[in-house]
């Protein structure tokens, strides 16, 4: 996708709509998308993966070969659909317009070269992807990209800052940032030889992280950053796995290593799929989405659930060389950390976490995000280290009926069964009108000793998500203090008592 002299850059975007947007860092989705990319690669070798679910290529060359942009778009749609993936293809000037074109119409749109700004004009300003501008511009009476593009560029820059100037470029149909026309004065690619060839994926990924750090250091020393990074892996039998990944100067060394992992795993799955007549290992929605089972990516692949363990090994004689090539070098104008995560992960911490992940599997090291919810177990989302994900339930909602502070220090992932009886030994029950049969007098958690209840509070009835039969829940909660001084959070649901948490 080099900048061509004269005339705008024509970009074709392939977008798979049923890929979840948050598939960004969820392994299975990213690995499966590799299959789509391989099919698109048959049309043009230079494919750039924007995110799992979307990739782009320069349309000019392939369009001439395949008989026009419409023909190329149709052929790609047919090829991808034939493997069972829904797909939309858009062609326009520049990446931003092409992405919007892919979302237009029933299966994407080909926007003629001279029509790009006219195509962009009716889109709302929210398409720019900036929450701040999407809020501010309509209040100033600017509702569409056309109206925004009509402002003088210099005025947009001085009124809305660097972000506004960039958005104005997009609205005009220009590219996100001008390409650096200066060729790199030095070879900034980094590579590592493996001798003997490495058969397992994990050491390669581990090495990729160190390589990425070297590449970033080399770029930083020259004040540059790269828009894309090309990952090349060579096998002992001469095969080459090459893939371009969107970088934009935002990927950490760990994130680059993660993309190497997807590339190896996805390519492996693709090889197997080809050998077995086009079997798709994973399709969006088919296996529970990106939250599917976390596979332990152990170095020996043991412990992986049925049939997938071989994905972690590299066949064809192993990897002999791994090379990272920064592509499209631009001046590093800094990045805003606040947008991309709350805490900066130091390399020392990241190294420790990756090493533990190599021992125990990707999902074994998690970072918690506080989420919303009524019961304590709902109020946290655990995200595997290296992934980015939003909490399952937003924390900033009021959540009426939530268990009040202070929060319990112990939250059982699987609630303990409990027996709670009154002073005559009968199980305490709660009626539909939230009346307690008798004050709870004794509590026995998980078959443990029977403890006397000294004080208690409740019932706090909860009827959750009654509109969704699969997720609906009707229960009543109690807080109990036993004579050993411990406090418990118990819930009674359909006559059964469970201990959800304890206030240790």
């Amino acid at each position: 996708m080099r900048a061509s002299r004269g005339g705008p850059r024509r970009v074709l975007v392939v977008c798979c709509p049923d890929w979840p947007l948050d598939a960004e860092d969820s392994g299975p989705g990213a690995r499966a998308f590799e299959q789509v990319v391989t099919m698109v690669e048959a049309f043009c070798p230079q494919v750039e993966v924007l995110r799992p679910g979307a990739c782009a290529l320069s349309a000019r060359g392939p369009a001439r070969y395949f008989g026009g942009e419409e023909a190329l778009a149709r052929k790609i749609t047919e090829a991808v659909s034939s493997r069972g993936f829904a797909c939309r293809v858009g062609v326009a000037d520049g990446l931003f317009a092409a992405q919007l074109a892919a979302q237009a119409g029933s299966s994407g749109l080909v926007v003629a070269a001279s029509r790009t700004s006219a195509f962009l004009a009716p889109h709302p300003v929210s398409a720019l992807g900036s929450a701040e501008l999407a809020d501010l511009l309509p209040r100033l009476g600017i509702r569409t990209l056309g109206e925004f593009a009509a402002l003088p560029a210099a005025e947009a820059g001085s009124r809305f800052g660097g972000q506004g100037a960039l958005a104005h470029r997009l609205a005009r149909g220009a590219d996100r940032r001008p390409l650096a026309l200066r060729p790199p004065s030095a070879d900034l690619s980094v590579q590592l030889d493996f001798d003997p060839p490495v058969e397992q994926a994990e050491p390669v990924i581990f090495a990729a992280k160190a390589l990425a750090e070297r590449m970033h250091a080399g770029l930083a020393a020259r004040g540059l950053t790269c828009v894309r990074v090309q990952v090349q892996a060579f096998c002992a039998d001469g095969r080459e796995i090459t893939r371009l990944w969107r970088h934009d100067g935002l990927l950490s060394a760990l994130a680059v290593a993660e993309r190497v992992r997807w590339q190896l795993a996805g390519w492996q799955a693709d090889q197997e799929g080809r050998d077995e007549g086009g079997r798709n290992d994973w399709r969006p929605g088919a296996r529970g989405g990106p939250d599917g089972p976390d596979r332990p990516d152990g170095p020996d692949g043991t412990g992986a659930p049925g049939g997938e363990s071989e994905n972690e090994g590299i066949q064809f004689g192993g990897i002999t060389l791994l090379r990272l090539i920064p592509d499209q070098l631009v001046r590093d104008e800094g990045r805003q950390l606040g947008l991309w995560g709350d805490a900066v992960i130091s390399d020392r911490v990241a190294r420790a976490a990756v090493r533990v992940q190599a021992m125990l599997g990707h999902g074994a090291v998690t970072r918690p995000i506080l989420a919303g919810g009524r019961e304590p177990a709902e109020q946290v989302t655990l995200v595997p280290f290296g992934d980015a994900r939003d909490p399952l339930r937003p924390a900033d909602r009021p959540w009426p009926g939530r268990i009040p502070a202070p929060a319990p220090a112990t939250v059982y992932p699987v609630p303990l069964s409990a027996v709670i009886t009154d002073d005559r030994g009968a199980t305490v029950t709660v009626t539909g009108r939230a009346l307690v049969s008798a004050p709870p007098a004794r509590l026995s958690a998980d078959g443990g000793p029977s403890l006397a209840v000294t004080s208690w509070a409740g019932p706090w009835p909860v009827t959750e998500r009654w509109w969704d039969p699969a997720d609906a829940r009707r229960c009543a909660r109690f807080q109990l203090v036993t004579d050993d001084g411990n406090a418990w959070l118990a819930v009674v649901q359909e006559g059964r008592w469970l201990i959800e948490a304890s206030y240790d």
């Binding site: 998690t366 109020q379 202070p406 001084g485």
Partner: protein, 259 residues
């Protein structure tokens, strides 16, 4: 073990003058400062807290506030909300719920990367494992907080008494817990220290009982009432109330009546 422990204890003893948390010490919450001889968690040391409880999290909170990364291993039942309320930053937490059978190796990696590691050992560590991990801790200057037993730990903290406030017989709710934390250890930490704390307080934070506040069974109805009036908290006691003492009332804002 004995000789090295003595040498270590002696070297830590020299740092006791350094009451202000400095480079050699990870800060702790102000409420816990007086329980630890160095005024914080001595880098390169092991601290045990008996069974898993909010005390472990409270010990880690001060360092997390100061910017340290905290790894928590072997606690699948961690209440993250409680940890956050106690002061730990969830953004700087690594959770390893099941460190597995090779947990000593996992611990070596974690101690390498994080300044503070909370561990609930899956099995009782052998002397060899302990020595190996203690060597890593000393080399990296990290701190290991163990929820369980660890022979040769420099400091030992445990909950001696606990009493929940705010809940009655069928009314109120758990609002705060008054605990007495006792600390002892080796060398300079050998003299037992005790401290009454709100663990947690009404908002989940960890604070010391103020000087005027009653501690445990010594409390007087009036003093308690004055404190509660300040906090707007209703109260119920685990033990039986004597006539004339504070009556249990329900609801957060319900008034108090002194008999």
């Amino acid at each position: 073990m004995g000789e090295t422990a003595q040498v270590r204890a002696a070297s830590y003893g020299q740092r006791d003058d350094d009451a202000v948390p400095g480079d050699g010490v990870l800060p702790v919450l102000p409420a816990l400062r007086e329980l630890l001889p160095a005024g914080g968690l001595q880098r390169g040391s092991v601290v045990t807290t008996g069974r898993w409880s909010l005390l472990c999290l409270a010990l880690a909170a001060g360092a997390s506030v100061a910017g340290a990364w905290c790894a928590i291993a072997g606690v699948p039942r961690l209440g993250v909300r409680a940890a956050a309320d106690a002061g730990l930053d969830p953004g700087r937490m690594l959770l390893i719920a099941e460190p597995g059978t090779h947990w000593p190796q996992v611990m070596v990696s974690l101690l390498d990367g994080c300044e503070l590691v909370l561990l609930r050992p899956p099995a009782r560590p052998s002397a060899q494992v302990r020595r190996k991990l203690e060597a890593v801790i000393r080399r990296r200057g990290s701190v290991l907080v163990v929820a369980g037993d660890w022979d040769g730990a420099q400091s030992r903290l445990f909950l001696a008494d606990q009493e929940w406030v705010g809940i009655g017989a069928g009314h109120g709710r758990l609002q705060a817990r008054r605990v007495r934390v006792v600390a002892d250890g080796r060398g300079a930490a050998a003299r037992p220290r005790a401290q009454w704390l709100w663990l947690p307080g009404p908002d989940g934070s960890v604070t010391r009982l103020a000087a005027g506040e009653p501690a445990g069974a010594d409390w007087e109805g009036e003093a308690e009432q004055a404190r509660l009036a300040r906090h707007g908290v209703s109260v119920g006691w685990r033990r039986e109330l004597a006539p004339g003492e504070l009556r249990v009332s329900s609801g957060l804002t319900a008034g108090m009546s002194a008999g």
